[in-house]
C-alpha cells in the first residue's frame, strides 16, 4: 500500500494551491453563483426589492400622520426602513444555505475540495451585494417622497460602512442558522425573527413613547444603536456612544457567527 503514495494514479490535475488562496477563489466563484441565482429567482427578487419600499410607503403615508417624532416622519423613518430591509434581506441567506446543505450539491462541492468557509462566505458576500442594491432602491424612493438628509460625503461613507457591517453580521448569523435548520422552510422562519427585531427599537417610533417595561429592551437591543448611528450620520444629529455600541454589537455577532458556523458546518458534513 505504501508504494501507492509514491506513484499516484494520475498526475494531479492542478497543483495544490495554498489553502487560504483556494478558499478565497472558491468564495469568489460561489458568490458569483449565488448572485446569478438570486437574479433569476424572480419572485424572491421582487419581494426583496418591493417589500422594503412598500413598508416605507406604509409607514410614511399610513402611520406617519399619527406618529409624532419632532421631525417630518419620512426623515425619521428612512434609517429604520433601510435597516429593516437590510436585515430581512440578509436573513434570507439562511434559506439559501439550508437549500445547499440539504441538496446533493454540497457533496459535489466537498468532493471538489471546496472549503465550507468558501460556500458560506460566497452566500454572505452575495447577500451584502444584494442588500446594498435594495438599500440604494429604498433611498431612491425615499428621496422621491421627500427624504432630505443633511449628510456630507464622509457621513454617507460612514453610514454605508455601518450598514455593510450590519448586513455582514446578520448574513453570517443567518448562515449559521441555515446550517442548523433541517429544511429551507424552517430556515425561512429566521427572516421573520430578524424582521421583527427593528419594531421594538427606535426604528419607527421614539423609544420614550413605549411602555416602560419595553424601553429597557428597546434601548439596549443591537438594532437600536445601529439605527441611531445611521440616523445621526444622515441627519447630522449628535451620535453619542451609538457608533461604538453599533460596531461592538455587529462585530460580536459576526465573530460569534463565523465561529459557530465553522463548527456547525464540520458537524453537519462528517
Amino acid at each position: 500500500m505504501s508504494e501507492l503514495t509514491a506513484s499516484p494514479t494520475a498526475a494531479p490535475r492542478l497543483s495544490l494551491r495554498p489553502r487560504p488562496l483556494a478558499a478565497l477563489a472558491g468564495a469568489v466563484t460561489m458568490s458569483g453563483r449565488s448572485l446569478r441565482m438570486a437574479r433569476r429567482n424572480v419572485d424572491v427578487l421582487l419581494t426583496s426589492l418591493l417589500l422594503p419600499v412598500l413598508i416605507m410607503l406604509l409607514f410614511v403615508y399610513l402611520f406617519g400622520g399619527a406618529i409624532e417624532t419632532g421631525t417630518r416622519y419620512v426623515t425619521y423613518v428612512v434609517p429604520g426602513v433601510v435597516l429593516l430591509s437590510a436585515g430581512f434581506g440578509a436573513a434570507t441567506t439562511a434559506v439559501r444555505v439550508t437549500t445547499d446543505m440539504t441538496g446533493g450539491i454540497i457533496d459535489r462541492f466537498r468532493s471538489l475540495d471546496v472549503a465550507g468557509a468558501s460556500v458560506l462566505a460566497g452566500h454572505v458576500a452575495a447577500s451584502v451585494v444584494r442588500n446594498l442594491a435594495s438599500t440604494v432602491l429604498v433611498f431612491g424612493v425615499a428621496f422621491l417622497i421627500g427624504f432630505r438628509p443633511s449628510a456630507g460625503p464622509l457621513d454617507w461613507l460612514a453610514a454605508a460602512g455601518i450598514l455593510v457591517l450590519f448586513i455582514l453580521a446578520i448574513s453570517w448569523l443567518s448562515a449559521a442558522f441555515g446550517l442548523l435548520a433541517r429544511s429551507p422552510e424552517a430556515a425561512g422562519g429566521f427572516s421573520f425573527l430578524v424582521m421583527f427585531l427593528p419594531y421594538p427599537s427606535s426604528a419607527f417610533v421614539p423609544i420614550d413613547t413605549m411602555p416602560s417595561w419595553l424601553q429597557g429592551f428597546a434601548a439596549n437591543q443591537p438594532v437600536t444603536p445601529v439605527i441611531e448611528t445611521l440616523r445621526g450620520l444622515l441627519l447630522g444629529l449628535p451620535l453619542g456612544s451609538s457608533p461604538w455600541k453599533a460596531v461592538a454589537w455587529c462585530l460580536s455577532i459576526l465573530v460569534a457567527s463565523v465561529a459557530v458556523s465553522g463548527v456547525l458546518f464540520r458537524r453537519r458534513t462528517t
Binding site: M1, E3, L4, T5, A6, S7, P8, T9, A10, P12, R13, L14, L16, R17, A22, A25, G26, T29, G32, R33, R36, M37, R40, N41, T102, G103, G104, I105, D107, R108, F109, R110, S111, L112, D113, V114, R182, R268, T269, T270
Partner: protein
C-alpha cells in the same frame, strides 16, 4: 497489490446511531477498470461510496483512493476523484453551461479553461443546444447527463457514481450506460453502485456484492455466475401438490421458487446426464413435471444465492440508515 489499485479498502466499519451499516468492507479496484458495487437498499452502498469519496469517516478500517488515504490525505484524494450522488448536484437556476463552468472554476481551472471545458462537455454529452437554458427547464435524463458531465470537468482519475440510473426511464438509463462505456479504456477508474443486476452485468469488469454491510462476493460477473451454478434448470410442476412435493424434496437446492407459476429452479451444469438425473429424482413417476427449461444463470440467481433474497425486492425498512448520513 501495489500501484495498480485505484481503490483499496480494508475492514471499513461504520455505524449510525448504533446501527451498524458497514461491518468490515474489503474492496480492491484495479486502475482503469469498472467496479459495480451491487446490493439492495440499506446494504451500505452509499455509506461505502461516501467514505471512499472522503465525505464520511470510517469508524474503523482504512481506505486508499488514487494512492492516498481517504482520511489523512483527504485533499489529495479530492483532487483526483469526482462523486455523482443519487440526487442531481446541479443548480436549477443556472444554465447547463454555467453549472459546468462553476464546477470548472471550483476544480481550479482558469476562467477561459473552464469555459472551454464546459463547451467540450456539453458537446460530448449532446447538451449543447440546451446549454444556455436554465436547468429548471430540463428533463430528468438531461439533468442526469449534465450531472455526469459536471463530474468530469476536473478530469478525475477515479469516478464514483452512486446509483447513476435509479429513477431514470429506459432511454436515459441507456444514455448513462453509453457515457460510462465511453469512459472505459481511457484509464479512468469507475466505481459505481447499483441495485440493478443488468447494469452491473453490462458495465462492470468486476462486481462486488454488498449485503448487510459486508462484501459477500467479488469477481467478474461470469465468475460469480459460475460460483452459483453455470446453468439453471427450471421445472414447471403439474399442480400445487406436485410443486409442494418437489420443493420439499429439493429443499435448499432450489435456487428459485415460484408457487404461482408452479416453477422451481435448480442449479445444474447443463449436461444432459445431470438434467436427466435431476428430472428422475424430482419426478420418478413421470407425471409431476410438465415442462422444463435450462437457462444460463443470471446475476439475479447469484444475488439470490448469496443473500437469500431476490434482488428486486429490496428491504426498504433498512433504507433510512443509508440515506441518513447526508443530513447529520
Amino acid at each position: 497489490m501495489g500501484n495498480e489499485l485505484a481503490v483499496e479498502a480494508i475492514g471499513l466499519e461504520k455505524a449510525y446511531d448504533r446501527v451498524r451499516v458497514l461491518d468490515g468492507v474489503d474492496l480492491e479496484v484495479a486502475r482503469g477498470s469498472v467496479l459495480a458495487l451491487l446490493g439492495p437498499n440499506g446494504a451500505g452502498k452509499t455509506t461505502t461510496v461516501r467514505i471512499l469519496a472522503t465525505l464520511g469517516r470510517p469508524d474503523a478500517g482504512q481506505a486508499r483512493v488514487a494512492g492516498f488515504d481517504v482520511v489523512t490525505e483527504r485533499r489529495q484524494v479530492r483532487r483526483r476523484i469526482s462523486l455523482t450522488g443519487q440526487y442531481a448536484a446541479l443548480d436549477e437556476l443556472q444554465t447547463g453551461e454555467e453549472n459546468l463552468r462553476m464546477m470548472g472554476r471550483l476544480s481550479g481551472l482558469s476562467g477561459a479553461q473552464a469555459r472551454r471545458r464546459a463547451g467540450e462537455l456539453l458537446e460530448q454529452f449532446d447538451l449543447a443546444e440546451a446549454g444556455r437554458r436554465t436547468v429548471a427547464t430540463w428533463s430528468g435524463g438531461m439533468r442526469r447527463r449534465l450531472d455526469l458531465a459536471a463530474s468530469l470537468v476536473g478530469q478525475p482519475s477515479v469516478i464514483f457514481l452512486d446509483e447513476p440510473t435509479t429513477g431514470l426511464d429506459l432511454r436515459s438509463r441507456q444514455a448513462v450506460w453509453q457515457v460510462v462505456t465511453g469512459l472505459t479504456g481511457s484509464g479512468v477508474t469507475i466505481f459505481l453502485t447499483t441495485q440493478y443486476l443488468e447494469e452491473a452485468d453490462r458495465l462492470a469488469d468486476r462486481v462486488a456484492v454488498l449485503d448487510g454491510g459486508r462484501v459477500v462476493a467479488d469477481g467478474t460477473s461470469e465468475a460469480l455466475k459460475r460460483q452459483v451454478a453455470g446453468q439453471r434448470l427450471d421445472l414447471v410442476l403439474a399442480d400445487p401438490p406436485a410443486f409442494e412435493d418437489a420443493a420439499h424434496l429439493l429443499g435448499g437446492r432450489a435456487v428459485q421458487r415460484d408457487p404461482k407459476r408452479l416453477t422451481i429452479g435448480v442449479a445444474t451444469d447443463g449436461s444432459a446426464a445431470h438434467v436427466r438425473a435431476l428430472l428422475d429424482e424430482v419426478d420418478p413417476t413421470r407425471g409431476a413435471v410438465e415442462r422444463f427449461a435450462v437457462h444460463s444463470a443470471t446475476l439475479d440467481d447469484v444475488f439470490l444465492a448469496l443473500t437469500g433474497r431476490p434482488a428486486d425486492r429490496p428491504e426498504t425498512d433498512e433504507n433510512e440508515h443509508e440515506k441518513e448520513p447526508a443530513g447529520v
